[in-house]
Symmetry: C2
Subunit: 276 residues, 2 copies
Amino acid sequence: MTSLARLSLNQKTTNRWTVSEAVDGCMRAGLPAIGLWRDPVHETGVAATARMVADSGLRVSSLCRGGFLTGADSTQRGRALDDNRRAVDEAAALGTNSLVMVVGGLPQGSRDLRGARGRVADGIGVLAPYAQERGVRLALEPMHPIYCADRGVLCTLGQALDLAERFPVEQVGVVVDSFHVWWDPDVLGQIARAAGRICSFQVSDWITPLPLDALLSRGMMGDGHIDFAVLRRAVDAAGYRGDIEVEIFNADVWAADPDEVVATLVRRYVAHVLRD
Amino acid sequence: MTSLARLSLNQKTTNRWTVSEAVDGCMRAGLPAIGLWRDPVHETGVAATARMVADSGLRVSSLCRGGFLTGADSTQRGRALDDNRRAVDEAAALGTNSLVMVVGGLPQGSRDLRGARGRVADGIGVLAPYAQERGVRLALEPMHPIYCADRGVLCTLGQALDLAERFPVEQVGVVVDSFHVWWDPDVLGQIARAAGRICSFQVSDWITPLPLDALLSRGMMGDGHIDFAVLRRAVDAAGYRGDIEVEIFNADVWAADPDEVVATLVRRYVAHVLRD
């Protein structure tokens, strides 16, 4: 097993590449896996993408993303459920069993966090059996509290596990994303608790000063404050043997030459994530 | 008791006012209390400030701030302890028993979060008896995880209480600041746990999109996503009877006429914090 045997390029990291370009980029760099996003997959077409990754031999480590289940009225929630069923179908067609769920924030004008969290649980309850029937697991992504209001009302790994554990392990799991969880005083204990539920391990760094756009605030591993090896060892100890996705939302990274970005992330992955 | 009987102006909210102007502004608006910051107090002088607030009849609800105990070497930590002892002395001189502690982030280049948290505990252990002898309680402020790297490695109320509970209740307590804790799925349980340890209750809102400068990202109550009444009722139920400080770091608020800011915060306090 080479050192890159579990390294996956989440295609958001090379945001300007099409699916085809990202697949080729992974092959050139010797990466065995790719994490796909629905928007670029739709541009290429789901069937065409499925053929392309099958022909390449790459694993699809995850599909991003379903979720946004917190809509205030039943029409919105019904539309969200329909869209999530399509996302499950796409994950199955693409050959990945992990659909990353960004659960959604507070609806416009609402301050009812408890209610929004309740609607997430309801939506997951509807979708989980549908996903299982198609061989897909819903991967709940706890998000950094910076996104609680507008993106993800699941804020900690513990909270995500509280929800996931209401369902069979084949139906609902969790994402461990370094950027979202590194600060949590209980993160190592919760990673241990997540044994059997970890669908995806994603890495990017927390950098300061925080970039101006909160959505583009992630850094290349090694540029910030996160001790990746501590988290990677905990995820290993919890029995996770799947891919490790590098997912970086950052305007500077997106502006750079994508092949150079991939070369850099390979070096940084070895130096910072695999480090003993 | 009027509706404003517990309302305190944290002077950061009217950042361009001197201590004297802020004291006068509180008197004009009928506020009974003020939260002071060390820098403007030093500009006026500690003794002069103490006389001014005593003459005004205002309570000093807290002094901000001590802390920054995570320095990498013993020289830095020794300097920080000396500065914290001066902060305790100043709190005593100003007649407040709450010294707000912003504990500090990771030292430059360090990724050792556990080590930094350990140094915070060590520093609090040194300072707590010194503070108690002077009638001052160290008020640990858990900060929003957005500040974990560069400002405060205590990220949740639960984590702050884990540390506070190592000390007598007269020595170490906690700050409940809505901006820092509102997202926490366990916040209500932890506020209940904090009974007897709550030194200060501070309010400002979480607004989106997040303002560009993460340090100036707080909003006026009602402009954002926080349900203040839920938190205020929990703090009441925990037996806290002290002042409620409005502390807003925001460039737009700082640019506005301070008297108008105070008038607005009085209205918003009644509408959003005191709301049944």
